[in-house]
């Protein structure tokens, strides 16, 4: 890619002018290389700025910069203004729909609650220490116990819980979907066998799976000292059931569309089946697989919130539902905070997957 630079290096000693030229072209090459990654991570607006520094015509680059950063910011500003103006017009029985200011206030409020809860937790541990010390003073051989804080999970705890759950479900889903997809892609017969099932299960809503999953988990996951909470498993498995389809379908398509010549080469070289899978099939279908994974994670995140809401499993969904049930004058604003949190996390997850996809498919994002 940057062979130009190495070529210039072999020439006779250059003038200052030439050196500067070389530096500039190196700089450009670097910018151009970085561009797809910056675009993927949503930092594309840095590129025109760098180019201006690199000495390109500011006018054209400023246009780019305007389009990439200023316009979106203006749009967000306009949205906030419209929302702020329209929200107070709607009176619900929980008071007016909160505007941006009230929602911002609740962000602060939720953070304060988080801090307060942490203080309570510290007090709890202190009391526990004291109790244990008292016990030991009475009887040096007494068994003391150390227990986790039992208070409510704060908003930030709920976010972490949701993320752990969605990734668990997504991971299980991927472990099932990718091998199955490879098998379906390689064999037309198997594909024909699985296809109707996939088509039937794909559109099923998480809310329909949930009661079934709950019952099955309750029946099968019985142990005195469970490693995972039942609720966590229920949510994760529901995510799995809803999110594995895009990965499965994309993997099958990716594997099926491998260049026939490649497969023939594999046959000629008499590669083992396993080598063929790892050396030929997987690498060439990776872009497809990652496209599937990205879709799956998006679906999984959406499904998770619904599952948590219905099953009352810990996480953001439960937070929303609890607030709705509370019906206090702050509830709506808190729910809005959750809506934005869910949206922003979903966006970040998507970008992360997009970046990974870009890496495996050499910058071209399907």
């Amino acid at each position: 890619m940057s062979e130009a630079a190495t070529l210039t290096g072999e020439q006779a000693p250059e003038t200052k002018e030439q050196q500067r030229e070389a530096r500039r072209s190196r700089f450009h090459a670097r910018i151009n290389r970085a561009t797809p990654y910056l675009n993927v991570t949503g930092l594309g607006w840095i590129v025109p700025l760098m180019k201006i520094i690199g000495g390109e015509s500011p006018k054209a680059q400023l246009g780019e910069f305007w389009r990439l950063l200023i316009v979106p910011l203006l749009a967000i500003g306009l949205f906030l203004a419209t929302w702020g103006a329209l929200a107070p017009q709607i009176q619900t029985s929980l008071g007016e729909i909160p505007g941006p200011a009230l929602v911002g206030q609740q962000v602060v409020n939720l953070y304060d609650e988080h801090v307060e809860e942490r203080l309570k937790a510290e007090a709890f541990y202190e009391r526990q220490e004291k109790r244990n010390a008292r016990k030991l003073a009475k009887n040096p051989d007494a068994k003391t116990k150390w227990r986790q804080y039992t208070g409510k999970p704060t908003y930030f705890d709920q976010i972490v819980t949701s993320l752990i759950t969605v990734f668990t479900g997504f991971l299980i889903g991927s472990l099932v979907a990718i091998p199955l997809g490879v098998v379906c892609g390689l064999s037309k017969t198997l594909n024909a066998a699985f296809n109707p099932l996939i088509q039937i299960f794909k559109p099923v809503s998480p809310l329909a799976w949930l009661p079934l999953v709950t019952m099955v988990v309750s029946a099968l996951y019985v142990s005195d000292d469970p490693m995972f909470e039942k609720a966590f498993l229920t949510s994760a498995i529901t995510v799995t059931l809803c999110s594995l389809w895009p990965t499965l379908i994309n993997t099958a398509v990716g594997v099926a569309s491998i260049d026939k010549d490649l497969m023939n080469v594999g046959r000629v070289l008499q590669l083992t089946w396993w080598t063929r899978i790892t050396k030929l099939v997987m690498p060439s279908s990776l872009p497809y697989i990652f496209t599937g994974l990205r879709l799956s994670l998006g679906v999984g995140w959406m499904v998770l919130i619904a599952a948590e809401m219905l099953a009352q499993n810990p996480g953001l969904g439960k937070f929303v539902w609890d607030e709705f049930q509370n019906g206090s004058s702050q509830s709506l604003a808190k729910i809005m905070v959750a809506v934005f949190t869910i949206g922003i996390i979903g966006f970040v997850l998507d970008r992360v997957m997009l970046a990974m996809q870009a890496m495996v498919s050499h910058g071209e994002v399907r």
């Binding site: 029985s93 929980l94 609650e113 709890f124 009391r127 526990q128 109790r131 008292r134 116990k145 227990r147 986790q148 039992t150 208070g151 409510k152 309750s218 039942k230 609720a231 219905l310 099953a311 009352q312 539902w321 609890d322 607030e323 709705f324 049930q325 509370n326 019906g327 206090s328 004058s329 509830s331 808190k334």
Partner: protein
Amino acid sequence: MMGLLGSKPVLAEELPVEKDELKLGFIKLTDMAPLAIAYEKGFFEDEGLYVTLEPQANWKVLLDRVISGELDGAHMLAGQPLGATIGFGTKSEVITAFSMDLNGNGITVSNEIWKEMKKHVPKGSDGKPVHPIKADALKPVVDAYRAEGKPFNMGMVFPVSTHNYELRYWLAAGGIHPGFYSKTDTSGQIGAEALLSVTPPPQMPATMEAGTIYGYCVGEPWNQQAVFKGIGVPVVTDYEIWKNNPEKVFGVSRKWADANPNSHLALVKALIRAAIWLDENQNANRPEAVKILSKSEYVGADSEVIANSMTGTFEYEKGDKRDVPDFNVFFRYFATYPYYSDAIWYLTQMRRWGQITDEKPDSWFHEVAKKVYRPEIYLKAAELLIAEGKANKADFPFGTDGYRAPQKHFIDNIVYDGHQPNQYLGKFPIGLKGKQTAEQAITASR
């Protein structure tokens, strides 16, 4: 430290609890207060229990999770342990050794219905409606709806809930048939003039606002919420339907109680202390309790809504605030003692409306009550507290046979004696008696 010098009782030995990390479920209602107080005031911790309180989506989920063992115990409707044990709905043995409170519910109707109803409510000299408002005033409204062929829908919180029986009691006392259950039809709407269906408490106001139901019977704060939101009018409290009626219990599965007797005992101890705290010095602690309950992890409604009933007043029509000092009773009048007669009253209502499909002898009622209600555990906890100096002997009904004296204060003036359930059932003009089934009763009344 100076325990030997002070006159304070020596710190009691913690019970050797079998399980100390417990998860207890509750529904967002004011009467979950004993749980919140026992947690916030450290009563659970004093017993060496590390309790997590978890709000549940609805009564069904709560009960299923107690039965499946996901929850160690929960704030339950008095009818739930009884219903589960006799197999109405989910069949599984659930017991209770602690009754959580008395009263605390109300019946609310939408503004529209109230406007119609008000025409038939007698007025006092001050121009205000005379209380208690009876369902007689609602009857013409229901009849008008039925004449137009519109179903008259009302909400209650669960088939075996206090609210279902109270709403039915109130309607039937005013001559409105609330419908029967039968073996084959568990909708509870056989022959009904008012159609009752289940809605989770926190969604009651929203459901009424949406016009799906015209009224409901629910615990606080969801009646006062309707007044605050201006969407409905509470017409009667359950205190007026049946003075000092038992409302919620703390239920655990029998399997759990057998495996963890000491944990159970410790829980009951902590809950009794919380109940004492809630009622001591003429409700002096109620404002603090309201503040705790309004936190989002407990009831979460605005504190002024919760305060309305918790501090001894109740607002009916907007501006018509009346004193109901005993609207929420947590400890007075032996509120926390699990009386067999309370259990039997619920069983009679289950029979009255056909949830118990066949005639049962009196002995059956007494047996079921003794299977589910466990005063012996309660009294053991009380004795421990008295020994620790945390409670007074006079506050517990030691020596009772488990039956309250015949109770007279019902809205229709029918007297209830827990010793004779079948005789009691015979007194109701609307309801199954003797060998009747729902279908027979409907044909007989035509």
